[in-house]
Amino acid sequence: MLAYKKEFLQNLYRTMVRIRLFEEKVGECFLGGELPGFVHLYIGEEAIATGLLSELNQDDYVASTHRGHGHCIAKGAKIKPMMAEIFGKSTGYCKGKGGSMHIADFSVGMLGANGVVGGGINLAVGAALAAKMKKSGQVAVTFFGDGGANRGTVHEGMNMAAIWKLPVIFVCEFNQYASTTPSSYGTSVPNLAVRAQGYNMPGVTVDGNDVFAVNEAAKKALEYVRAGNGPYMLEFKTYRIKGHYVGDPELYRSKQEVQDHFDKNDPLKNFAKVVLAKKWLSQKDMDAIYAEVAAEVKTAVDDARKDPYPTDSELFNDYYVEGGVN
């Protein structure tokens, strides 16, 4: 394995811990009845967003999914306005109008989570088309799960990106469940990366619980895409540790199955094992990061609780740019 700079490793760990603790806190607040709506957690999949998006520039684009908190964090969104948004507060990224499924931060190229499975695919294709037309060198990354892979949007988007050689990376987070339906039932092939062949683009299957494997695959994909060769598909095998949504009774799988996966494949534990064995980071390094992030998440929640809800007068703000309401 390649050696990494210490700062890079610290950043990887910080991002993964940030996602983990943020999600744990969101789950806790939801079960405590504090959050409106519903939330989908990214726990167990942290290595993918972290290993991949750490290679992007700030102005590269990401179009995310309903399970988008991790993508936001890894793209550089701040957790305070994220948490506030999930609480529905006016200090949130979307001023409380979007919530968990619609968090966006355009200042870091995060074109939004998306409440419709497969809804973000073509937004990324369009952003990549714009980048190509402007010759800006930007790339677009879009995420979907093994469930989303079966949407027609993926087919149309991949084909269009391929014929126009657009700088898009299609990222499948194969987390084994499409809502409650196991992918072994709902998906025609065990490895979705084979579908990339049908669009004449490279497609590789990678261990999505290993942040280093993700990162290496991401670098290759980015090199290919940035060179103007067209789109690329990355399939990351992972496991959705939490239910489809917080509160999911999870009648479709056993607790033992979940525990086995978590014991074997927890991306944070995987990371710790490697960096400690290779002495790239010390336990002390990691503990310091963990404590710092825990405090950051606590502050975000404390603030979100105190922050104001939007006032009635905000209902029609940020709507039509030019009037339009009767």
């Binding site: 073509n122 937004l123 294709v125 930007q138 269009m160 940020d318 009767n326």
Partner: protein, 324 residues
Amino acid sequence: MREISFSEATLEAMSEEMERDSSVFVLGEDIARQGGIFGQFKGLPQKFGTERVLDTPISETSIVGAAVGAALAGMRPVADMHFADFIGVCMDEVFNQMAKVRFMFGGQCKVPMVLRAPDGIIRSAAAQHSQSVEAWFMHIPGVKVVIPSNPADAKGLLKAAIRSDDPVLYFEHKVLFPMKGPVPDGDHIVPIGKANVSRAGKDVTIVSYSLMMHRALEAAEKLATEGVQAEVIDLRTISPIDKETIFESVRKTKRLVIVHEAVKQGGVGAEISALVAEEMIDWLDAPIRRIGAPFVPVPFSPPLEQLVKISADNIVKTVKEICR
């Protein structure tokens, strides 16, 4: 004033706006190589290159989705739907993405794009190529809907739509494409949200738009010979609707008829009727009447197709019923 066709008018609008703003581009099926199925894009690729006039695969979902994405990334796309009937294919991209992202994201972005959709009944195109679906979109917060009836408005509204920072649906009746009419020279803009009183009158208000404006004006001519002075309003934009122009006319005429080619049930006429009934029913001297197609898909066979089309005589008859 010079006379050009509706189709040429839209082409001028496209050409002038693409000239004016390098972020404007157009994508759709059969537009670069073929020039559009109605010739409405002819010559654009020669002028602006196939980087800005993009032939797409038959992928409506991707066409609209990519247009939204490109708009979010700073472009001003014009996406062509081939036939308005095909919007159903990409409805998620239209009503969940295009219409909502700006609001959902708290105003962080805007979606300056135009969706062009040729609609309406033409030569037995049958149930999946003949529909007028504009009313669906006036029920969707976040989009604007324009629907010109003549070449001048076709140009002015398309230019306004392209310059708008909001997503605009632009419905263009297929029968109108070859129709000629006067179009002002220069940078002719028709503001979105403003109806036009196309003919003044004092006895009844006829509100219409698109191709049916021509039936309405024909009906007004006939009515005039019988002593009924109809005021004819061309809505031009159906969302946001120009209530004031309608109300002002109804205050004067005290009678209202709304005419559209789309099915009557749940149509634009229903919304206008409700607005007038809610806000100014005391002004009315007669019941509001709506003229629209019967509630049935558009049939293929010419004699059957004839039964769902609105004629000037239908309008004359209805107006006379409430002007007795």
